[in-house]
Each structure stands twice: as structure tokens, then as C-alpha cells.
């Protein structure tokens, strides 16, 4: 009995070890050789631990960004308050997240096997983030929860979401891809649907975005590291210049943080640190998701005949490359507008991370174009920025302020914001 307890506490209670174990089993099921077993399992453990390190870097940069823009808008200094942060949240609830993700996937496979929704969700990093954010909402709402209950609750919700989300977007996917072979499995589904609706009612389908010529040289927009550093760099730089010009006591205090270094250079370096932190977290996620998803896929294809893979949002980009850029432009304009409006009305500093803005608005842009041409794509992008900016404000302040608001600022997005209040409501009901 004591050895079972030891297993439960140390293997299932230590998220990195648990993930290593899940990956190990997954690789065994795929009949990998000893060397692949070793490298896969080790990479999963390291990857999970790397996430914590990257989150720390992101939070440090956010701790400069937020006060800076608060001072720019002349807002009352209100810090994020006490929160656990991704690193310690993972240490405490990471096991529950990993288990809920695995069981939620199995529920998805079962639903695909026995219902007419034949979709298998394969976008592993979004599976991880969505489960994390929803766990953050539950823990924030009801306090300390029993791990078993948390796992069951999340697994059922995730399983349903991963099965139904691709089904909801599939009618438009058929229109975009021209076939029924692949589905969208991504948290941008809600803005994609809203974009498609906006395009339908306010767009002009005949003015297809693919008829216009977009200038070459926008390829850098496809590189997430570059666009994150670029946009955050612009915002940090503008913030720094305004602070220097203002010269208020609050501004002086912030500027003192850079010490001997020029405050402008210091601010620019912070934006690169922020992008670097995201790159570190994504490397960590890649290391374990890259081992889990092939195992998931192996299980699904064996169990579900005629399964359709629900895939990451860039699958739709090649079908309308111009709509991708138009969606991004609509969202970029929208996020700058909302940064100022939200800052001046509800005193919240919106952190527009490009991963959220670009990938979500690009997807919405393709959907908007499919129903409403150029105007549809631009509108869809603007809708995306509206959902993610106001959504971030509500999420960070009201839904998970004591758990992982740091993660919600850069890795939470469209569907999570739309479903967030429902998760809170259900958590109150069931816990």
C-alpha cells in the first residue's frame, strides 16, 4: 500500500515525471526502439521544466511593460497583485493538467468513434494551454480543489470542446479547403466563426482578397519570434519616449530601473526579453508535445475509422494568403485602438502578443474572406482584436487573477475568453 501511495505522490504528483511517464507509454504503444524511448521520455521531462524558466522571463518583462503604460496613461498604479504564476501553478496543478489533457483526448477519441463527429483534435500545444487556463479558472473560482475532481471536470469539458469545436467550424472549412479531409482544431474557432458571420452580413464576397496583389517582403510576418519582438519593441519604445517626455515622479522612478543604461535601450531590450521568454516556453512545449501528439494520433487512427484530423490554424493560410495579411492588419489596428481605449476607460493595460493577434486574426481573416471578401477579412481581424483585448481584461481581472494571469496575458486567446465565464459558472456548480 505504501508503495502505491509513494507512486501516487511522487509520480502522479510531480508533473514533469508524470508527463515523462505518459510519453514513455505513448512511445511504447508506437513500438519505438530503446534509443527513441530514452530520448523521447527525457525530452518530455526537460521540456516541461523549461516552461517554468521561460515564464519567469516573460513575467519579468511584463513587470516593466505594465507600470510603463500605466504611467503613460496616468493611471493609478495598480499592480497585478498576488498570483501563483505559471511556474508554481505547474508545480501544484501541472499533474492534473497533464492527466486531464490525456483523458480529455481519450474522450475526444471515444466521441469520434461513436458519434457522427469524426474529428480528432491534434493541436497539442493548444490542448495544453487551454487545459492550463481552464484549470486556472477553476482553482481561482473555488480555491483548493481535489485533484481527482479537477481532472474529471476538465477532461470531460476538454473532450467535448475538442470534438465539437472542429464540427462547428467544418461547414466553413469545407468552403475554404474545397474538401472534407481536414478540420480546424484551434482556439481561434470563435473568432473564425464571428469573422465568417461578419463577412456574410457586412462583406462583399465578390471582392475576393486573392485578387489583389500584396507586396512581397511581408514574409517576416510568418516568423513568430520576429513579429513578437517587433510589436512589443514598438510599444516599449513608444512607452519609453513618452515617459522621458513626461518626466513625472512616477516616470523618474521607472526610468531609474535602467541604472546607467539608457532607458530607451533598456526598454527595447525588455521587448526582446519578452519575445525570448516566449521562445523558451514554446521550446519547452515543443519538446513534450512533439512526443505526445504522434502517440495520440497513433491511438486515434487505430480506433476511429474515417477520422478527420483537426489541425493547427496555419492549415488554412495557403488557401487565402492575402486574407491572412488583411486579417492581421485589421487586428493590428484594432489592438492599438483597444490598448488606448481600455487603458483610458477601465485602466487595464492590454498586452497584445503577436502569437494571439497574428494566428487568430489570420485564421479569422481567411474565414471572413470566404464569406465577405476583402471587407470580411479586415472585419474578422478587427473582431479578433476586440475579443482578445476585452477578453484578456476580463480573464486577467475576474477569472484567474490569483492563479495564472501571466499566462493569460500572452497564451490565452479567443475561445478561452469566450468559454471562460462558462467554465467559471460550471466550476461554481460542480465544486
Amino acid at each position: 500500500m505504501s508503495s502505491i501511495m509513494w507512486m501516487v505522490e511522487n509520480v502522479f504528483g510531480t508533473p514533469a515525471i508524470l508527463l515523462g511517464f505518459i510519453v514513455f507509454v505513448g512511445l511504447l504503444l508506437q513500438k519505438k526502439n530503446v534509443s527513441q524511448l530514452m530520448s523521447g521520455t527525457f525530452k518530455a521531462v526537460i521540456g516541461f521544466l523549461v516552461i517554468g524558466a521561460g515564464s519567469g522571463v516573460i513575467v519579468d518583462a511584463l513587470m516593466v511593460f505594465q507600470p510603463m503604460w500605466k504611467e503613460v496613461f496616468g493611471l493609478e498604479a495598480e499592480s497585478l497583485g498576488e498570483f501563483m504564476g505559471q511556474d508554481s501553478f505547474n508545480a501544484q496543478y501541472g499533474s492534473a493538467v497533464a492527466l486531464a489533457m490525456t483523458l480529455g483526448f481519450l474522450i475526444n477519441v471515444l466521441l469520434a468513434r461513436f458519434t457522427r463527429f469524426k474529428f480528432i483534435y491534434l493541436t497539442g500545444h493548444m490542448m495544453f494551454w487551454t487545459t492550463t487556463i481552464f484549470a486556472g479558472i477553476v482553482v481561482h473560482t473555488v480555491g483548493d480543489v481535489s485533484p481527482t475532481k479537477l481532472v474529471i471536470f476538465l477532461a470531460v469539458i476538454m473532450g467535448l470542446y475538442w470534438t465539437l469545436q472542429p464540427a462547428l467550424t467544418q461547414p466553413f472549412m469545407r468552403k475554404i479547403t474545397g474538401n472534407d479531409n481536414i478540420a480546424l482544431g484551434h482556439t481561434s474557432a470563435s473568432v473564425a466563426l464571428l469573422g465568417a458571420l461578419a463577412g456574410k452580413y457586412a462583406g462583399n464576397k465578390d471582392n475576393d482578397s486573392e485578387k489583389i496583389k500584396v507586396p512581397k517582403g511581408l514574409e517576416f510576418l510568418r516568423d513568430s519570434n520576429v513579429i513578437t519582438a517587433l510589436t512589443m519593441g514598438v510599444l516599449f519604445l513608444v512607452g519609453a519616449i513618452i515617459l522621458i517626455a513626461k518626466g513625472t515622479p512616477g516616470a523618474e522612478e521607472l526610468m531609474a530601473q535602467s541604472g546607467e543604461q539608457s532607458f530607451i535601450i533598456y526598454a527595447i531590450i525588455q521587448s526582446f526579453m519578452f519575445a525570448g521568454g516566449i521562445a523558451i516556453v514554446l521550446m519547452g512545449v515543443r519538446m513534450f508535445i512533439g512526443e505526445i501528439v504522434p502517440a495520440f494520433n497513433g491511438i486515434a487512427t487505430k480506433l476511429v475509422p474515417g477520422a478527420k484530423p483537426a489541425l493547427d490554424s496555419p492549415v488554412v493560410f495557403p488557401y487565402a494568403p492575402n486574407a491572412v495579411i488583411l486579417g492581421f492588419l485589421g487586428a493590428f489596428f484594432g489592438s492599438l485602438l483597444w490598448l488606448v481605449v481600455i487603458g483610458n476607460t477601465v485602466s487595464y493595460i492590454f498586452v497584445p502578443t503577436m502569437i494571439v493577434i497574428f494566428f487568430h486574426s489570420a485564421t479569422a481573416g481567411v474565414f471572413g474572406n470566404a464569406t465577405g471578401g476583402v471587407r470580411g477579412a479586415l472585419l474578422a481581424g478587427f473582431i479578433t482584436s476586440t475579443v482578445v483585448s476585452w477578453g484578456q481584461y476580463i480573464m486577467v481581472n475576474a477569472l484567474l487573477s490569483s492563479t495564472v494571469p501571466d499566462t493569460a496575458m500572452w497564451a490565452a486567446d479567443s475561445d478561452m475568453f469566450i468559454l471562460g465565464p462558462i467554465i467559471k459558472f460550471l466550476a461554481q456548480l460542480f465544486f
Partner: protein, 89 residues
């Protein structure tokens, strides 16, 4: 032989591409280590072949490995044709 599957974020799309490339590699009876990554990391990683889209290929010119362009990441026939052509040239 080392092959990199590359997309913009290095998470989902490149992983699916990696899985499809692994299948193709098996069909062609090759011995290859396939990894997936984002485009910025890829330019600094040693590899014999880099498989990616036409848009990202431009940022990878200058890499020592051969860049193989695939339009549809889910079409194993296209991947197979593109990879075989690169192998034999």
C-alpha cells in the same frame, strides 16, 4: 540523415508535417532523424534537408542544408515527390 520540418511557430503545423515526413521516410526506406521547429531556430540548426512552405523558404536561404518546398503539408504524395527529387539531385 537529419531532416527539419519547419513552420512559423514551430508547434502544431510543423509537428503534423514531421509526422507525415516520418511516414514518407519509412516508405522510402531511409534512415532519417526528423525534427520539427520554428523558422528562426531552424536557420541555426544543422540539417541535411529542411522541409517547409514557399513563404518560409525565403528566410532559410543560406542554410547549408537543401530546402525542400512543400505546398500542402498533408499531402504525403507531394512530400514524397519533393523529397525524392531533392535526394536525387
Amino acid at each position: 540523415m537529419k531532416i527539419l520540418a519547419v513552420c512559423g511557430l514551430g508547434q502544431g503545423t510543423s509537428l503534423i508535417l514531421r509526422m507525415n515526413v516520418e511516414n514518407v521516410v519509412k516508405e522510402l526506406e531511409l534512415e532519417a532523424d526528423v525534427e520539427h521547429t520554428d523558422v528562426s531556430s531552424a536557420s541555426g540548426m544543422p540539417a541535411d534537408y529542411i522541409i517547409t512552405s514557399a513563404e518560409l523558404a525565403e528566410s532559410l536561404t543560406g542554410h547549408e542544408g537543401t530546402v525542400v518546398i512543400v505546398n500542402n503539408y498533408f499531402d504525403t504524395n507531394e512530400i514524397k515527390a519533393a523529397l525524392s527529387e531533392a535526394l536525387h539531385s
